[in-house]
């Protein structure tokens, strides 16, 4: 377990780590500050990656909080099953902790296998069960043999680190226990792995038609709208596209090392990025025909989208936006907003790598004022005022901060109900932005109450 954590935090493909000294590398990614922290734990991160697999069951081995306060709350959409909506937990009691919960976990796997007939069962360790030394690996091995059903152990105690580390844990579990465990019957022409796309609010559904039209097969989607079986086949793909997830670069690198599958980082936020991503795929597949098709498709789609955007563009033109979102999204969304004619005044750099930051800086033409390392609600609202910004674009946690500040807001986080990917997504984003920008609510709520009006 300890060893696994060390390995994962010494990721050579992560440029975060390339610049670190040997000593620094032994430290996990940046530690949270007690009493001034935000964001989830490693267990949360592991579930973000694996829970979209809806024909597999997910059993959380621990006391109630890990499941009771979190289930049925992910924005992922799927057509392959409904097990992602179920919260399943061993709900450890005091007695279970004293006498050990491995027996209970085994019985739980049997119960779930019998009742829900899943394609596989993921079992997650949490803080308490990791501390008391529950051996989920042996349980998984024994249950796999007993039931003839793949049971996959996921080491994910929350105390081991942040959400990002948890993403890596999930990637680790997929690489070690899932990928390559089954062989597909046939492999299509251009099979790719899509890594780090979780079909939040249906974003995958927005880009899937593009791939269909190009004849590129989303052979193994990790993990939005994925079946368990297709995850097993990932080793037969020709290329991995890592979407918005630095944390899963390690998985792509491992696939490259073991199976010789090359990878690159792509994004579907904005028309420019969508085109670049599709073009890179065609390029790496080495097919000129595919390249021509991408050129044709993207030109047509861009034209169509611009026509559809026409009524919205004048509303957004020159409006100032404050962007507060993490990682890769921080720069790809900037480009998307730029396409819509908006001006970003500041963007967050939290969870961003040096490379991400370089891209954000490029947007701000080298002006470091545009970078915003970390901010609480109060600071963000202060910036809104200071820069006279028109729109606040951030995750759901900031939604009510924005409402307290009475500023227009668009949610770009994982519990949202609207998808912003590809061409269709740009239109939806424009509609949401215009909806909040033109709402009469903001002027009416700013009117003073009758008793606040001074006479004379």
């Amino acid at each position: 377990m300890r060893l696994a954590i060390q390995q994962l935090t010494e990721e050579p493909g992560c440029d975060h780590n390339q610049k670190k000294t040997a000593e620094q590398k032994k430290e996990a990614c940046k530690k949270p500050t007690p009493g001034a922290t935000a964001g989830g734990c490693a267990f949360d991160g592991a579930q973000i990656v694996l829970l979209p697999v809806a024909d597999a069951a997910h059993i959380i081995h621990g006391p109630i909080t890990c499941c009771g306060q979190s289930y049925n709350n992910r924005g992922t959409r799927t057509h392959v099953g409904n097990l992602h909506q179920y919260g399943m937990t061993t709900d450890m009691s005091e007695l279970d902790i004293v006498f050990g919960g491995e027996k209970k976990l085994k019985e739980s796997v049997r119960y779930v296998a019998g009742k829900f007939k899943p394609k596989a069962v993921f079992i997650y360790s949490t803080c308490v069960t990791a501390m008391t030394g529950e051996d989920i690996h042996t349980v998984a091995k024994e249950m796999t043999e007993e039931l003839g059903l793949q049971v996959i152990p996921v080491d994910s105690p929350g105390f081991s680190g942040s959400k990002n580390l948890g993403n890596k844990f999930a990637g680790h579990a997929l690489f070690n226990h899932v990928i390559g465990s089954k062989e597909p019957e046939n492999v299509p022409m251009f099979p790719i792995n899509l890594i780090g796309e979780y079909n939040i609010a249906g974003e995958l559904f927005q880009v899937e038609p593009l791939f269909e039209e190009l004849g590129i097969s989303l052979f193994s989607k990790m993990t939005g709208n994925a079946t368990y079986d297709e995850l097993c086949y990932a080793h037969r793909s020709k290329l991995s596209v890592v979407i918005c997830s630095r944390a899963l670069i390690s998985l792509a690198r491992q696939l490259d090392e073991k199976y010789g599958i090359p990878y690159f980082e792509g994004s579907f936020y904005g028309m420019g990025e969508t085109k670049r991503t599709l073009m890179t795929i065609a390029d790496m597949m080495g097919s000129d025909l595919l390249k021509r098709k991408v050129e044709e498709l993207t030109t047509r789609k861009e034209k169509e989208t611009m026509e559809q955007l026409a009524p919205y563009l004048p509303i957004m033109k020159g409006k100032k936006v404050l962007v507060y979102t993490g990682g890769v999204k921080s720069w790809s969304i900037l480009k998307q907003l730029e396409e819509l004619g908006m001006e970003v005044i500041k963007s967050s750099t939290r969870k961003s790598t040096e490379e991400d930051i370089a891209r954000i800086l490029e947007y701000f033409e080298g002006n470091e004022d545009g970078l915003m390392p970390k901010g609480d609600g109060k600071t963000l609202l202060k910036y809104m005022k200071e820069y006279d910004a028109d729109l606040f674009l951030a995750g759901g946690r900031n939604m009510y901060n924005a409402m307290k500040g009475q500023v227009p807001f668009v949610d770009v986080n994982q519990e949202r109900h609207f998808a912003f990917a590809g061409y269709e997504g740009s239109l939806v984003l424009a509609q949401k932005i215009c909806g909040t920008l033109t709402s009469p609510v903001f002027s009416i709520v700013k009117k003073p109450a009758p008793w606040e009006v001074s006479f004379g």
């Binding site: 001034a36 935000a38 006391p63 019985e107 119960y111 929350g158 939604m399």
Partner: protein
């Protein structure tokens, strides 16, 4: 007889960890920072959960117990966390909530707090209230009750009252099942009888949306000074079993007598409260209250045609479950098939249910086959879709419905609104079934 369904795991849990209840209690207090001592996920999940439920800013922090050294158990994270919160947020006090992990580790919180005081004497003026919340024991209401009791036991002192009062003062110890709408009704009613009231904790403030500016700490709930004044009250009213421990502390330490109401939902329960108010104050009920009662009576009469022959199942924490279960069965005459709950306190065992189960929403799904509708939190929505049954949302969380926290479920007004809401569900079923 309370049943426990034999199965090894919980599927679609009804139960929430006690930290969720403890944090909720603190959100009803003025300028307190709930600080969760555990890995950051415990706080992050709970924050997400409560933010979506209330649709409000929900301040809370975590000690972010992280690396291996801390797992083995030194208290640097705890001390650093408390110091950072005091330095940055300047709260009136801190609600320190432990988690399953720190409880398993066996942290000596009291000892650690003594060492904190020695190390950081400059923060002496900020009280820190420790609440033990192992999530392998108890449920959200347990945690809520524990946080309220712990706060009282640290902050109040037996003291002779020095101020002169012309009006009597009553503490309302408000259970976790009460909404902002409920709290408003209580305040208005008690004030109408010439009583000064302290509602503790008061979730109707920040979580009720009455603070229109950004806040880093919950505002306008029960303040530390007000909490101290509770020691001098003439009487305490307990609403819900989970608040009884708080009433006991006030009784034993400050000789404040109390009366407990297991619920104030329904006509009968409200009559009992109003009778008490009349006896206690010697005053008559105000006219608005009489009108509300007349309307509640009329609503029950109008709706009763659809009630008969219907059955329902309900899931919720004990206090929440008892009030609704009692009103719907004993006063509306709707058959209760199954009641699922999470802990053994309060009066729910008296409900005339065919099944009373300590369990989860899978049990509710399994044992509600004959029910016409379901009463539960919004996690039961997928289950209701599968069974094609209407759901009436109550409890925590309610994520997909605006204004839930402003609905009123108690008093004459609540009795009327519930008669309408439940009546509408039943009437819609009648219309659908008659072939329209």
């Amino acid at each position: 007889m309370v049943k426990i369904i034999e199965k090894p795991l919980s599927v679609n849990p009804l139960k929430k960890g006690s930290i969720m209840g403890a944090i909720t209690a603190f959100l009803g207090m003025h300028k307190v920072m709930p600080l969760v001592h555990g890995a950051q996920g415990c706080m992050a999940f709970t924050k997400n959960f409560l933010t979506q439920h209330y649709r409000e800013v929900t301040p809370m922090q975590s000690t972010a117990v992280f690396d291996i050294a801390t797992i083995i158990g030194d208290d640097s994270n705890l001390h650093e966390g408390i110091a950072n919160v005091i330095e940055k947020q300047k709260p009136d006090f801190i609600g320190l909530v432990t988690t399953g992990m720190t409880e398993v580790r066996g942290d000596d919180i009291k000892g650690s707090l003594i060492r904190f005081r020695e190390k950081y004497p400059q923060y002496d003026s900020t009280p820190v209230v420790p609440v033990a919340c192992p999530d392998f024991k108890g449920d959200a209401e347990t945690g809520y009750g524990a946080a309220c009791a712990a706060t009282l036991s640290l902050l109040i002192e037996p003291a002779v009252r020095t101020d002169y009062r012309t009006r009597k003062m009553v503490n309302i110890l408000a259970g976790m099942h009460l909404t902002a709408g409920d709290i408003d009704w209580l305040k208005r009613s008690f004030e109408a009888f010439g009583l000064d009231v302290i509602v503790y904790p008061d979730l109707s403030a920040s979580m009720g949306g009455q603070v229109n500016h950004f806040y880093g700490l919950p505002e306008e709930g029960t303040s530390i000074d007000t909490i101290r004044k509770m020691a001098h009250a003439d009487f305490s009213i307990v609403v819900g079993g989970c608040m009884e421990a708080s009433a006991d502390i006030l009784l034993e330490r400050c000789t404040v007598p109390y009366k407990k109401f297991d619920t104030l939902t329904g006509l009968e329960a409200t009559d009992e409260l109003v009778s008490w108010l009349m006896d206690y104050t010697g005053k008559q009920a105000p006219s608005w209250m009489r009108i509300q009662r007349q309307r509640a009576v009329d609503a029950l009469l109008d709706a009763h045609f659809s009630f008969s022959g219907k059955s329902f199942s309900i899931a919720g924490e004990p206090d929440l479950l008892y009030g609704l279960g009692k009103y719907l069965t004993k006063e509306m005459g709707i058959r209760l098939e199954t009641a699922v709950t999470t802990a053994r306190h309060g009066a729910f065992e008296n409900l005339p249910a065919e099944n009373i189960i300590m369990g989860d929403l899978e049990d509710l799904e399994e044992y509600s086959k004959a029910s016409d509708f379901i009463i539960a939190n919004s996690n039961a929505i997928p289950m209701c879709h599968r069974a094609h049954k209407p759901i009436y949302r109550v409890g925590y969380p309610v994520k997909d419905y605006l204004g839930h926290f402003h609905r009123t479920f108690i008093g004459y007004y609540g009795a009327m609104m519930l008669a309408f809401d439940i009546g509408n569900i039943c009437m819609t079923l009648d219309i659908e079934r008659s072939g329209h």
